[in-house]
């Protein structure tokens, strides 16, 4: 694991953005760390429910991509200040009160980057 302190990675998650969908959830990420690329989504986990890349969509810069469409060969640019919405579908995961969110994404230079936060459903 690359030595980027957890508290810095947590800043990417936009607090209060977690929403319950009919059969899933959504949340917003904002890049406040520095310009770079996302080269994959390994999984998103909300509470104990794991969403695999094919169950995850990332909407940014007017583009909607499935988690499986983001790869080292097809990375997506994520600029400083850019926001993106992650949509998880197919499973209900959100509960009342605090929800534990874990996102594991990939960066071409740093490899795995894991974000772990807790948030209430908006």
């Amino acid at each position: 694991m690359v030595v980027v302190p957890e508290f810095l990675i947590r800043r990417i998650y936009q607090k209060g953005s977690l929403k319950k969908l009919d059969n899933g959830a959504s949340l917003i990420l904002k890049n406040v760390l520095g310009p770079g690329f996302i080269s994959g989504f390994n999984y998103v986990k909300i509470n104990d429910i794991v969403y695999s890349p094919e169950e995850v969509k990332f909407i940014t810069n007017g583009e909607e991509l499935l988690g499986t469409e983001v790869s080292e060969a097809a990375p997506i640019a994520f600029r400083l200040g850019q926001t993106g919405t992650l949509i998880m579908e197919g499973k209900t995961s959100i509960t009342d009160g605090k929800n534990k969110i874990e996102i594991e994404a990939l960066n071409p230079e740093a490899g795995k980057v894991k974000l772990t936060v807790e948030d209430n459903c908006a």
Binding site: V3, P5, G34, A77, G111
Partner: protein, 805 residues
Amino acid sequence: MEVTYDKYSLMADGKRVFIKSGAFHYFRTPGESMARDRFFKMKAAGYNAVDIYFNWNYHSKAPGEYDFSGIKDVRKVLKAARDAGLFIIARPGPFINGEVNAGGLPFWLLRMEDVIPRNRIGTEYKYSEKYMKYISEWYDNIIPIINEFDNVILFQIENEYATDTMEEDYMRELYKMARDRGVTCPIFHNDAYFAGLWANCVDIYALDLYPYINPNQNWKQDNFCFDTLDNVEDIFRSSKEDSPPFIAEMQAGWFDKWDGSGYKHIREALGDEHINIMTKTALSQGVTLFNHYMIAGGTNWGNLACDEVYTSYEFTAPIDEFGIPQSNFYKAKEINYFLDSFDFTCTEPKEFEFYQENIYAKMRHDNTNNCDWLFLRNMNNEITEINPFGNIKTKLKPYDMKICPINLQLKGCTVEFSDMEIFARLHNEDEEVIFIIADKNSFIKILDNEIISGDKKDYDNIKFEKNGKTTQFVFLTKKLADKSWFLKDKVIFNADYVLPNGAIAVEKNTEIAYFDLKNKFSKKNCIVTEFNDYSKPEQLTISSIDFCAPEIDMDYNYSEWKKLENKTDSLSCELYDEFVWYKGQIPNSVEEITLSARHLFAVYINGKEVLNRNSYKIEKLQEVPETISIPLDKKILDKNLNELTILVQNLGFDKGFSGDTNNPRGLVLFETKPDTKIDLYAEEKLSIERNDFRQSESPYLTKITAKFDIDLKDNVFFAKYISFENFRCRRATIFLNGIKIGRYIKRTNVQDKFYLINEFLKPHNTLEIVVWEKDRNIKSPWGFKSDMKNVIIKIGTQKMYQLFK
């Protein structure tokens, strides 16, 4: 020297100073005379400071033992910097990174019980008293030397440090340690995450910025890589309002890795546009202290390298590994001279509404010169017309950036606007001469005068007069500007480079021109007498071929080697060298051995190779370990007790940025099936390094010896190399006069030219190349030895300059 600061800049003895620094690794450019050469070139290019990492590991082989003698004499390095007129930015770690072995932490420290390097395991903070105790020892040794030099202007603690919970104890303790030992200048830390980390623990907040870290990336296409730099003033101000913006490491190149694309590719990818954009964008953000990392490339000789990097640490720096100025050097020189021409230490951002696609525009008001400066950057891949104001249009080349003065009041006129590059300025009370780089797409608009076109030839000039004072613009083409040198009160033209004492270096017969305000132009001819044509490398004559691994021989006596207990890795054995040998006896009841080694290794049984493997693999900044099982049968184990020899080549310890410095090296795992106790003995280094060389029967390691002479002259600068371009062997370690200066691995294809480090050259030189071959490449020992005589090794001269006083 008293060093103070405010939100704009540093002040040395009360006078504002703009810090134009470059990073230099004395351990990779060893010896006083090489340091002096690089410092003088820096000074000639307008740098006024040098950043120096002090490498703890380089100086300390054991607790309490410190070596600052010979080429490790840092006093001589610091004195050379002072003689060159450079301030010093002292960075003694304890951790430095710099792609050095173990990030600069001593090997002995890594293995100590209760020592937690950097008070950190992974990302978790874990304070270690014993670690702090040894830092005290290092600081006790290094800080008094640093304190002997009154040109030290800044001092850094730790480097690129972060933990999950950001406890401040460690950083605060380092700060106190430095102050307690008499450091008086401002103290900073270098934040790799540009997130304001440790700003409260130091005097000045500083960060590092590397927009281009992936050689597969096209920074021109992905131009948003400058996003952070484009907003860096906000980061500085929100992190520490009262300290000047300081980029402690500002990208001036990038390092290549074993599995990289080679320095030629990186240099071409960055061009001289990158350093231009980096530096000028930093200026547009109010930065008044920058440090080009690196200013001079170096060489990972000895055991300097961490596992990631190969011999050359060229870094595509402005001064390359050989000491030769490159195109980014000339670009940096232009900017430095500009900063010497107009005091830029006190500027403020100024509101400027402008939008054009892929154009960066930023305005600053200059409190000293009472004018504005407009910074324009074109990230389009074609010449682009920009219209920053209603009546003014300017054209920028692709990926170019300019600093345009607005209402700049000069002695004889006022520049209303200009998009021409100001190169240098000479001035006295009544007169000034401003040298401008001619560019047909650019112009100068003088208040109440016509527009002056930039379509000019060398030395074309135009003069303005006002109230008895004059301003003369003298135009230089870019080609001449590269060969023009601003030295105190004069400009020297047509020199390849100059030294601060006025000495001139040229590589061919040249007419040198001088200009100063009093004597105007004068000329001098430099006739080069020393050089023959050196453009083609020459093949070296091989004087001997010897098998040099007696350790593999059946009768080799290793009873004096270190007997190992349970663990076999380098740290546990206290054998930190690149090469570690393991020997033992293995009974024929063993059916299989399983081993994991870092990084390259070979297993020999009864003098025969059974495996030769390169296990080096790094993915996503992490090493990927490999474990291999070797089935053994009676053909291999043909005796009751069989001689086992394992040779491991450790390419270096982790540098400690992402991984842990004490990740194991050497033979990390050794198991037998069925589980059988084997007494292993270990020793480090190759036999020629241990003075244990003797003729061997084993053909796997072969020493090729060649001799050559060098004509060393005081008035000639030269850089020599050996070329492995047509070298047929797969791995080799290169020794020059007994000093390890390089390692070659054909598979990686990243380096086939090795610098013959000037410091190690003598009039009569011996080159020894130890080739490590695989069994399948050796048909018969006799035939192989004979074959080796036909190996092609060439020696060449990269560059020569004759120096004229």
